[in-house]
Symmetry: C2
Subunit: 334 residues, 2 copies
């Protein structure tokens, strides 16, 4: 991995061997119906609590990804992953059944792309196979971040819907066959435009996505039109519009080549308002639809920008604004 400027890295041998997804019922009723490896009919996944269900989704996605890549757990050197629950317990507890090394990560909904960057980086240092995994669950996130579900609180029109699911990628330094390559990355920095409305995370995250994408284009001396698709994680419809608008003011045009995982996840009829969000969002859409399109050659050069809002209920209660971060990876299919 060589080194551009401060924040943009180039990887030598980081390939995406496989992706595996476990999706909740509402997610599989959305625009990507049938694209997921496992779709749950019950978001309890046969468990007693939503938290245990979220953990079981992690366990299933990890095992599914390993099997789909025709590997066993003994082939996996390390797992890079996290989730939205306090102390990232869904991923950490799932790791009790996995004897690989574990790097616990947290960059909110940017965690999946963070895991791709660190996984690709450590792969370039002798590791052979690593897993990058991230996920979330609507019902665990709601009661942790917002209100008890039983309260039936009316949702603001600017809200998004925390996606239920887990996505897991298998990265390898020695691909068995031709597969997409993580070529470059731009590490996100924390930006805070002093958005105070915790319902409006898209508005808080859009400037971070702009900062990272602009830095990436600058550092790589490339332009938006060099990429078949520019994907953001979970800016949602409103956040995506702000993202395109802010880029437009900088003379960067991504119209016709832009997709937000969150905004595209559900149909309007599913009443999620601004679309999906959560650590599952980019992990689900990337490891299904996007990876399929890369493998089919529909996308030859893709940019994936994971977006995260870094606040907590405590910081909001203490009157803080919402800092955000966006990590970027460029994925090529030759």
């Amino acid at each position: 991995m060589s080194y551009y400027k401060n924040r943009t890295l180039v990887f030598k041998n980081s390939y995406i061997a496989e992706g595996y997804t476990v999706a909740g019922p509402k997610e599989n009723d959305g625009r990507y119906k049938g694209c997921f490896d496992l779709s749950l009919s019950d978001d309890m996944f046969g468990e007693k609590t939503f938290e245990k269900a979220e953990r079981r989704m992690f366990e299933h996605a990890i095992n599914g990804a390993i099997a789909k890549a025709n590997l066993t757990i003994d082939h996996i050197d390390a797992v890079f992953g996290g989730d939205l629950l306090n102390q990232i317990v869904s991923c950490a507890f799932a790791m009790r059944n996995v004897h690989s090394g574990f790097f616990g990560l947290y960059n909110a909904c940017a965690t999946f792309v963070e895991s791709l960057i660190l996984g690709a980086g450590m792969l370039n240092n002798g590791l052979e196979n690593v897993l990058c995994v991230s996920g979330s669950h609507f019902s665990t996130a709601e009661r942790q971040y917002r209100y008890p579900l039983e309260l039936g609180v009316l949702r603001s029109p600017v809200t998004q819907w925390t996606a239920t699911g887990v996505g897991c990628s298998v990265l390898t330094s020695r691909p068995q066959s031709e597969c997409p390559k993580i070529l470059k990355a731009t590490v996100g920095r924390v930006v805070d435009y002093e958005i105070m409305d915790t319902n409006n995370m898209g508005a808080a995250m859009a400037p971070a996505a702009v900062d990272t994408f602009e830095t990436f284009l600058h550092d790589t001396k490339s332009k938006a039109s060099d990429y078949d698709i520019v994907i953001t994680g979970d800016l949602g419809k409103l956040g995506g519009d702000i993202f395109m608008d802010l880029l437009g003011r900088k003379g960067i045009d991504i119209s016709g080549r832009y997709l937000d995982c969150g905004a595209s996840l559900y149909f309007d009829s599913q009443q999620t308002y601004q679309g999906g969000s959560g650590a599952a969002c980019s992990a689900l859409v990337f490891n299904s639809e996007i990876l399929n399109n890369l493998n089919r050659g529909k996308y030859k050069k893709a940019v994936l920008i994971g977006t995260g809002a870094l606040m907590s209920p405590t910081t909001s209660f203490q009157g803080e604004s919402i800092p955000a971060i966006a990590h970027l990876v460029q994925i090529d299919r030759r």
Copy 2:
């Protein structure tokens, strides 16, 4: 960075240029009095809440470490860090004032060593300077994990005291002078010996530390006596005894060369029972006492094992045991 077995890595050019510490009042009344770069007389650090104080300690430690290493923020490519607060908000919010890339990490009290491993790994890939930072605050941890301080709940004799402070290391691939080198690392895996008492985290973490240290000795074909000092993060007195006992049963003797940051942080008269714990523990002691001894040449080969208990209040309420993890780095001073 070459590759031993699954979990042990070797780094080429990862040096520790400097370490900086901010310690709370109780910590500076302990065994390392006067060793810290900044000691607070008030653990509110002039802020309105304990959480804001913890964040300010991060901001101060980050700026202090950069200055102490005779660098500016423009020299720092990325920051690897985390803390114990939900959504690691102390570190993330401190990053609002730092324009470097940010990798948010969470492995509980093993986060500091996790940051050293990932920082050293990414340094071996072209980055020049990175920061590794971790910390905690007694008063924010107590009210998040246990009870409101005002309740004055009696503490169990097996408890430890969450250390207040932040420690930050500056890692560089191009040292200006001779300095300690992060030579090897063994990545921790999650182990769970089904300890149910959340007061007794030392007992939960000791088996993880044994697993990692034993793996390290095996992978590097070395023995405990090859190292001047074996340091654990925050096993505490009881956990440290369990660690030495379990190692003894495997024929590994570390007597006379073992130090636990937590167990050594306070005097008995300070009534912390088993000693210190928290993400600050290893970060404080390593970046003061240990780094001084490495720089003075008192330690030529040191092993630092960060230990973390990965439960959350939610998992405990749902009847789960305490999974634990331990990450290891070998630091040499030639």
